[in-house]
Symmetry: C2
Subunit: 422 residues, 2 copies
């Protein structure tokens, strides 16, 4: 019998809940602290968060779990010469110099015309951008629409804010993300915002220009804001598609979040960009000031250097990752596991239906037996317990070795379907 | 006639509010976006936030506004040798190496025994620590107690989360922060948490060991959590006082937030530490994952180096700032403005009652006339419109020049009390 949240809170705050022997056993020493937790914490998807954190704890295993490419070689020389004594707090919205250079990139690459002083914030990665977006535009109890599967942070960040999820089922076909337009339009009804990510994490699916136009059309018709996670924009192996924020229907209702983590291999350096109409960016800046302001000056300087790297280098990088994608799927195929070719990003989304084992348990076993960390699908999709995600973004040689080990282990389990990780 | 928040939200969401010509004029082009804003944004202290941001925009003026000391010289040599290619995402809670070294510091300097794996998180400064604390432990509508005056972020961060403030009035006497114990105990009644900051920003007031014990006693008795902002711990010019988290009554109900920004002059590098019982730290880590996870690896490595600097260097730095404090107050005195000597931190909290001008306007005038940026008191205290804050943390020579100019300008205004910035 589910207890209403308010009653549960009362039972917790008064300590009554501690009379239950099961709760006492579960919380142990922590029971005394339960009464201090906010509703945000009490109603958060704590089990999911804990499991996700565990999965992210790669330790000494080969890391096919997280997707963090190596630093782009063109930046290496800059590293040592870069660091100078920085003094004082950087501007809350970020170094103007960097924002101007990024506005140039947006004009050149994304057909977006943006005022760097009012429509652009430097953030601590896309993660912070998403959190600020959800804080600024969605109340607890209101709904956020997102495609399923999607990056685990989307659900966790929304649920942690006590917001409701509207999931739009998708499939991967020839590298494209496919969805039913009627189901999509229905999910938008009553939603405050839609989260878009193309190329998609974890499937690698890409939206075509036509898809994006339909999405923008419905968002306008339903008056829904868009958060577009552009983190894989330089890892699209098919036809070029426009940036959704550049489409007329989407223009003034979209916050785009760009990242240096994947394109330049700067995950460890934490630079993201929040871009949108000034009336959408402004409340996010206010939220930033009241939550986690200031991005390290040095990291912003490094990002400024990154923007001087010629486009040809990013082209070469994309070609390298396209070859990796081909190689990754052929390794899987050789071991009897054929998957749909991802059209972008650097993940393989691998079904494990036949293994009679949930993805989380499988990943624990895989790590133990093969020394490779994979990402279990539970936090990435509704049907995620039948999928694992492998990243091919690790260093050359390393990722291939990891893929070989995992593909081989899966094929051995395959041969013994009833032997539950015996 | 104040409109209830729910009704206001309805009027905004339906667009009815736009029929009011005043609102149309105020919002202009932004009116169409108002309906997208969350209650968090609509009910935030937006005017305060905007003014604070404006005040922080120092431009080319001498910066006596923000308090960011220069980098400690012992770290300069490390800067160039430091940066190496970092790969992948750092652990959500921070580099274990750094957390271990900080646990050693806490044992040595603060008489705190902390498990670095479970009771310590590396954060993007104390600002992020405060936000995570408020998210994890306080619901919208619940109360947070804080001493008045206090750092502007305390009020703004709480109000932005739709939490209520309980202000405890304080005065500065011989460098000590004084408060009425009965009023204090009353403010705690029904509060979920208390924010403590000693030495205090902006007054420079310090709590004695006895004060801290009384505070801890009442927090325990009222079952209130404590957030202790230890950012000025190395800038205490009087008797050594214990860290509140080390007191028996406070131990298991306190989150301490430490910072590298002031001690080592690392404001631009953004490293803070969140420390407390694992049952308090854990939900904050979860909130971090769902809002702005990951602190740049390189910045954490720099912080690790900072912890190798011998204590004697921090002693010398404190002595230097004590001399600055003496010099700062004597400059003010020479121009006829005697203030209570601050016992710690690096601010002078200067009354301007006699100037018949609000602090915000005065600071705008000061910047224009003297080229010095000062912090207006409005966002720092209930009676803040009669105070400005001057920082003496700027580079040697620079801050003195700034103090001279401001003190002189104030004295000239003094002489013409009725000439409203004529």
């Amino acid at each position: 019998m589910p207890i209403p949240a308010r009653l549960a809170k009362l039972l917790i705050r008064t300590g009554v809940v501690g009379l239950h022997p099961g709760v006492r056993k579960l919380m142990g020493d922590g029971l005394a602290f339960l009464k201090y937790y906010s509703s945000r914490v009490l109603e958060a998807p704590n089990e999911d968060l804990k499991r996700t954190q565990e999965a992210m704890d790669v330790g000494s295993a080969i890391d096919l779990c997280l997707g963090a490419p190596c630093l782009i070689p063109e930046l290496r020389d800059h590293l040592h010469s870069l660091i100078e004594e920085s003094h004082g707090y950087p501007p809350v919205a970020g170094l103007l110099d960097l924002r101007r250079a990024f506005a140039d990139k947006l004009r050149r690459e994304n057909a977006m015309s943006v005022d760097p002083e009012k429509e652009l914030i430097v953030s601590n990665g896309v993660g912070q951008g998403l959190g600020l977006f959800l804080d600024a535009f969605i109340d607890p109890g209101e709904s956020v629409a997102m495609f399923d599967p999607c990056y685990f942070m989307y659900r966790l960040a929304a649920q942690h804010r006590r917001q409701k999820l509207r999931l739009i089922p998708t499939t991967l076909e020839d590298g494209r993300t496919r969805f039913d337009e009627r189901a999509f339009a229905k999910a938008l009804k009553g939603s405050r915002a839609l989260l878009v990510n193309s190329p998609n994490n974890p499937t690698g699916g890409v939206f075509t220009g036509g898809d994006l136009e339909r999405i923008a059309y419905w968002c306008k018709r339903r008056d829904v804001l868009i958060f577009s996670d552009e983190v894989y924009e330089h890892f699209n192996y098919g036809e070029h598609a426009p940036t959704i924020a550049a489409l007329p229907d989407a223009q003034r209702r979209t916050i785009s979040a760009f990242s240096f983590s994947k394109t330049y291999g700067m995950a460890a350096y934490r630079i993201g960009m929040i871009v949108g109409d000034q009336w959408l960016v402004r409340p996010m800046l206010v939220s930033m000031l009241a939550s986690a302001p200031f991005v390290p000056t040095v990291m912003q300087q490094l990002a400024r250097r990154a923007l001087t790297i010629p486009t040809a280098a990013l082209e070469r990088r994309r070609e390298e990752f396209r070859r990796r994608r081909d190689r990754a799927t052929s390794i899987l195929q050789r071991w009897g596991r054929t998957i749909d070719q991802p059209g972008g990003a650097f993940y393989c989304w691998i079904p494990i239906h036949n293994l009679s084992m949930a993805a989380h348990d499988l990943c624990v076993e895989l790590k133990k037996r093969t020394g490779v960390a994979a990402m279990p699908g539970e936090s990435l999709a509704s049907n995620g317990k039948s999928y694992i995600r492998l990243s091919f973004a690790e260093a050359p040689g390393v990722w291939e070795e990891g893929f070989q080990r995992v593909a081989r282990a899966l094929s051995e389990w395959n041969a013994r379907p009833s032997s539950k990780a015996a």
